[in-house]
Symmetry: D2
Subunit: 328 residues, 4 copies
């Protein structure tokens, strides 16, 4: 039984708290959030302890591991503090908003020896993980093209967008990691930003984007992103290879289909957002984290994955700004 | 090039006329219908000759084969007249409304030596034929259960129902033949009639039915029939065997699917009725007829199939009337 | 938090123990099983108490409710003992193997005033429940036909079959309840038994069956059962009504589809068996049970549902034995 | 009845000959091909006249319209000759391999007053046309993203590739027209070429590509191309808009699905190539051509569409060569 603290009682903190509390091998020990009574409320829901003093997490001997769900600028400080205190760390994405922050901390990050894992939960989604394994097993021969369709049900508030680091660091970062999961290191990035939401445009960001990534073997990944999708959380993958194609479709709460005089085979909208859609992925991510700690192995995705995903986000941001292809 | 005459310029006559006219190996030579200008109108559409004198078909030396789409009570007389005149015959279903009529003509029918085929077109539907072949090829091991869902888009007028011989002779006859196509001879019949349409009830018929058929090996076929279906012409098959299951689904005009905030993966209604749904089946039925004539083989389904399907229709009618299982 | 004891540490006892242990509003208090160390082992898995003295469950003041997963002949004795002790009861299906046992206990059953619910879990399956609600909401107009396809992945051992009461009491009982969930009381039953498995035939039972049920309004339900299905646990529903059709399909662990030169859109087999397939249903069944207790309402499905499902099982058994339709 | 001549008795000439011969409003009058007995053989199949003297087509008074399926460098000469002779023209894609050839003939092309249509047959595919109409009807609100997946079953011989003008002029040209059908004029093109086939690489061409197109409104179309696809001719569309998404999937010859212990819902491969896949599209394209001629309207897609598609092909070719975005 691993005693886990969660830093940050916001939306993602809730997801992790729920996942930990219901995991058979984990105990939600403590929730820390400096602001108001967020930690207290969330902790009460699961019978955990709480604190507004985040630093106390690192000195708490009852805490074995820390899940970092604080605002992104605090990820590196919290990660390093936890690691230095000997706590295993599961850190949310992105590792930072700016590669300069990573570079400034690089020596310390390199020295981190406790297990550190990054929250690219989609690698653990049963459908995506199965599809990835099938590619690895040669079910479609050599990979030629990857298509990632990733649309949120609706845009976050402009206030959030302003401090988010932009669509590529905030949203596409998951898709960059997924592309790397299949293609490895990327050598070329081209991104087109789109603006359909005036508030997001005013906030200086794109609310939709299409990104083309290429690796050194000429395999291409296409990412189609949108901050809104009428039918819910649209999360699909398609991998095409020399001898076949694999798809993973959206998920719905039921299998019910309606047929009438207007339409046939009509299903309900997709699961609405990440807590529902990726509930299994968060659980399996946590299992993988715990297994790595218990087994003494390096958990994945690790710091290199976090840094490379950020590098792609920066390259895509630059590509939109310059209208040019970025070579890495 | 086979010169073919069509007797009967009604709905099914139109289907055959169109099929023949566009078939590369057939020529629509003549259309015969004793009533009004039906033959003339239909013939004009395809540049064929026409007549109101049905008997002239049998003496016309330019006619190689006859498609009989006359009212059911005339099927046997027309079939025998054509055969005696040495014309190959493709006769519509059912062979008769009453087994007594068949028995009365049995000796003559037995002596028919020209190629005679019956219009159980669904055996030639590409999906059903492929499914049947897959079962024959052992793709699902020994057959255990067959499910036939067969619903018309909407009920015929009560006037038609009154002279139709009832749902089992008029509509289910196709499904009885399909059951025999997979199960061979049937030993037990149980049928439940249903009444949702008051006009059809008044006409003394069921407008929906569920029929259970069993063969000597204990294989069961279930037929689910309805004279109306909101989504169009609902025509499905499912064969379950020892090592697998095969399904054939409905057909739509396009593959377009709509996703919005109310529904996802919504297709259009099914093809509306038999001309569209079974266009390929009618064409392939005709090809099979022509091939049998040219190849000197006995076309199938033949007279035995026509008689046995009628026998099942009579048994189902009896089962509804008595509320009992009928053993054959 | 409801303290729940489970009687019976067999397969279904495991399902309930797991469901209770992970339910936020329930506590797995005690597991009782007279044989060997089954209770001890199961209890250890979830940190519950255990006993081999089943009667002690009824006198344990720490037990609020009892889930009865004992062998079927003990259902009525355990149910009455628990109820008399003031414990709420969730009893597994079937209520008994023989209607005589129910009749003998009828007066006592009628007097049961504590909440008693029966484990027809499929009513709570999200897809089936949603489909049922859609019918109730008039989405397809008046119901005309219900189709229940229900196939187990593989047959139980002949030893089990011999004491199971036969396929209709043991397996179809769920489908009878589902039919009643949609059609209400049934007036006619016709069942065909099938034998493909020699060991089950020798045990005197059918291993597949097709059942036709009719209610007083002429609505027909068809049940297609098989003790084995190559593709896994095949559990489907189709309701056809005056203005539409609703389907609920099988469930798979992932949405991955493979396309290659042999096949396209190929999914994995269905979830293998009831623990996986109906995990949500068991959880929601328990929630419904707890809500009824807390809300002071009568939980459903209740004793009448249990008795009527058994009556249909007896009628189907009789129908197979006599080859006749049974009227209720 | 329109008398139509076909120039070119190669693969595409066969497609048009078959389409014309079976069209109720067209007559295949003449087939012209200068090489060997290709015209004779093809003409014999449909009972048409034939000639090796292509110029005789333009002077033949029995010819109302000409379908040009000659090698691409002859498209403009044949088009102009036919038009000057007062024949309506349906010309295959691409209009030319080099924009310089178009520019050289631009004045003459501009002066063409007879009906001239270009063979972007996919606009007439029932699924794609229905999807396009649904977008035009506002079914998904304003269009935001278009995804075109277009993969051939297998690569043409390297000999063909060498004279084809490259993948973008030869294959993607259809997808460029489809993008323009939905997005109108394109302002930015970025293309990544891929090489998986050594023979095609040696021939100096890409055998797969991903193209990103943007219009002035910021709508983005993504084209995913491959010269081979294990599952057949992979032809799909997805249009995402403000209020919904529309998809058009691949087409198979039957609806049969197989379920066993390894896989479920497995369909057959897609229709193998364009004659089968786009048979309806070719027929409806011809109908549209005939209707325009008979109705005195300008047929679409017209010369501007042909030129703009070529412009996109040239831009994509340049983008691959330079690794840069091309602005139009």
């Amino acid at each position: 039984m691993l005693n886990i603290a969660v830093i940050g009682a916001g939306r993602i903190g809730h997801v992790h708290a729920k996942t930990i509390a219901s995991h058979p091998d984990a105990k939600l020990a403590l929730i820390a959030d400096p602001f108001g009574d967020a930690a207290e409320k969330l902790a009460a829901e699961y019978g955990a302890a709480h604190t507004t003093d985040v630093d106390s997490v690192f000195t708490d001997e009852g805490v074995d591991a820390v899940v970092i769900g604080s605002p992104t600028p605090l990820h590196i400080p919290h990660l390093l503090a936890a690691a230095k205190a000997g706590k295993a760390v599961l850190c949310e994405k992105p590792i930072a908003l700016d590669m300069k922050d990573v570079e400034a901390a690089q020596a310390e990050l390199d020295a981190v020896e406790v297990p550190v894992m990054f929250g690219f939960n989609r690698r653990f989604d049963p459908s995506f993980a199965t599809l990835h394994q099938a590619v690895a097993d040669g079910k479609i021969g050599n990979l030629e093209t990857l298509l990632i369709i990733s649309r949120d049900p609706s845009a976050p508030p402009a206030e959030y967008v302003k401090v988010s680091g932009g669509i590529f660091r905030d949203m596409t970062i998951h898709d960059f990691d997924m592309a790397r999961f299949f293609l490895g290191d990327i050598t070329e990035v081209y991104a087109v930003g789109q603006n359909f939401n005036p508030a997001i445009k005013e906030a200086g960001d794109s609310d939709a984007a299409v990104v083309t990534l290429k690796n050194a073997d000429g395999v291409v990944a296409t990412i189609i992103n949108n901050r809104h999708c009428a039918s819910g959380y649209d999360q699909r993958l398609e991998a095409q290879g020399a001898t076949g194609t694999l798809n993973a479709d959206n998920i719905r709460a039921t299998t019910v289909r309606l047929n009438n005089d207007q339409l046939t085979d009509a299903a309900e909208p997709y699961l609405d957002f990440f807590l529902q859609r990726y509930a299994d992925a968060y659980r399996l991510e946590l299992t993988s984290f715990i297994d790595a700690i218990n087994g003494g192995t390096k958990p994945l995705p690790g710091i290199k994955d976090a840094i490379e995903a950020l590098r792609l986000a920066e390259a895509a941001t630059e590509s939109v700004a310059t209208g040019k292809v970025v070579h890495l």
